[in-house]
Amino acid sequence: MSLASARRQLGAVFRKEVRQTVRDRRVMFLLVVAPLIQTVVFGAAVDFDVDRVPTVVVDHDQSDVSREHARRLLADGTLLRAGDFPGAEAAEHELDDGRAAAALLLPRGLAADLAAGRPAEVQLLLDGTDPNRAATAGAAASRYFGEVGERLARQRLEAAGRPAPAQVVVTPRVFFNPRLKTAPYIVPGIAGTLLVIVTTLVTAMGLAREREMGTLEQVMVTPIRPLWLLLGKLLPYLVVGSFDVLLLIGVGTWAFGVPIRGSLLVLAAVMLVYLVSTLSIGLLISTVSQTQQQAFLGGFLFMMPAILLSGVMTPIAAMPPWLQYLTILNPVRHFAEVMRAVLLRGAGFGDVWFQLACLAVLGVGILGVAASRFRTQLA
């Protein structure tokens, strides 16, 4: 078979795949609409930003001092005043019913104790259902009253004519994502996660369906070579996947304020090698599956660890070392890293060549294995 014949064969498979895909509304939905919906939903839901924690206030002291402290603590936006109650019991009730996530209890005699230099105990009740939110609310209260205590101590020392103690102040400055927003960080990861689901599943099911429907036998008695057949089945989804990437980046930028600081060329490159690797994995899975059901399960068997060990959900650095090494084989990891680096940090080819190289090697290698498995498996 000449190269021209091979091109004709490849074109035939490509066109056939496109026709079948376009005619199957469920697949079209899975390919285009589902990732869009999921990005919007996940981007909005997976919001680790904690502010405006609804907080009720129980002021037993009812002094100007206690009122002033409550006002200032609730003024910085982390805690949001959700009402005032006369007793702790009523406040607990608000927590039980979920109307408040924190309750600030200022004890009787607070003003007097502070003025006299006696220790005072301010209580904060927290709803621990969301540990992240509880910790943030607790930290906000501790910080505020810590500063109050320090100020009082200094005033007393100065009043007594003694020098104030030296202090160390930590001034954090956050790079790349200065407002510590979750969305810009999480959306590139979600994009990679959604893409692996779509592309791996669709190609995994593709060959298995042909086998189940009996069409594969008819194809296999024609002169087409396995590699051209697999490429023909892969390329249409490379187009769809690329479209999805652009869609997701568009939504991320427009709806979640994800910046695009790096070059689009690097993005295009990572998109290409990433999709080739995930699509090839799908093909590999479909060469070991007899039915679509097996292919579907096989796809999940790959995707679950791939997503969990991608650094999107938990940082890779927090994993045991051997597992960290294993994630080098995980395309989702490389894609998420490159996307974040390019979008948030403006990274160029020089910064992400390692990830790009890993993806390219994975993609080509897996496609080769799939093609040779496919050849020997029929025999």
Binding site: G11, R15, R19, Q20, M213, E217, Q218, V221, P223, A379
Partner: protein, 250 residues
Amino acid sequence: MAPAVPAVEARGLFRRFGAVQALAGLTFQVERGELYGLIGPDGAGKTTAIRAVAGLLDPDQGEARVLGLDPLRDPAVRERLGLMPQQYSLYRDLTVAENLQFFARLSALPRPVFRERAERLLGITRLAPFTARRADQLSGGMYKKLALACALLHQPEVLLLDEPTNGVDPVSRRELWALLHEFVEGGMAVVISTPYMDEAERCHRVGLVHHGRLLLEGAPERLLAAARVEGLPRPTFEELFIREIEGAAA
């Protein structure tokens, strides 16, 4: 000129699927211009034999040859072989025309050649009015004819047909057989499997397959004549085969 090789050759094919011995030493030969029938009950191993000849299955033992070539290892076989599987094997969500076009391209047929042959095959199979119809909306008989047309597009020298007339009405069946005779007269070698005994009589030679090997082989009229000698007065093919199969079981 090299010495003439048989168009199809199966030599001592064995193949086991789990506990089932699907092929147990099946051997047969088909010459160019010959119409050979694989006859046998359900599960006899006909489909397995045809798949082995088509290079879709690796036998545990023995070997298949098509035009002297190894169908498993020599891709050139596939340019000279046509297969019509027993099961559905075309894309049901594609139209008649799209299926034809797809398989023509896989065989790398040039466009003008494809147009001319498709037109002729659509005429012969009388599918021309239905080119825009999806394959899953064809009747059983029309579907079989489309599958046949797809297998014939590249004008194979060897044609393998696995129960092509199953579910086809008598008129279409007769047409199909007329077509097959035309092909073999043109030099094509045809292997056809069928459970119908009346069809067996239309083959040049038949092989009766049972439990994965041949019980009986020969030209239909010779087999019948031999049976008469053995004392059956005017046996039908059916009686002859049933007697053989029961004899093998005993």
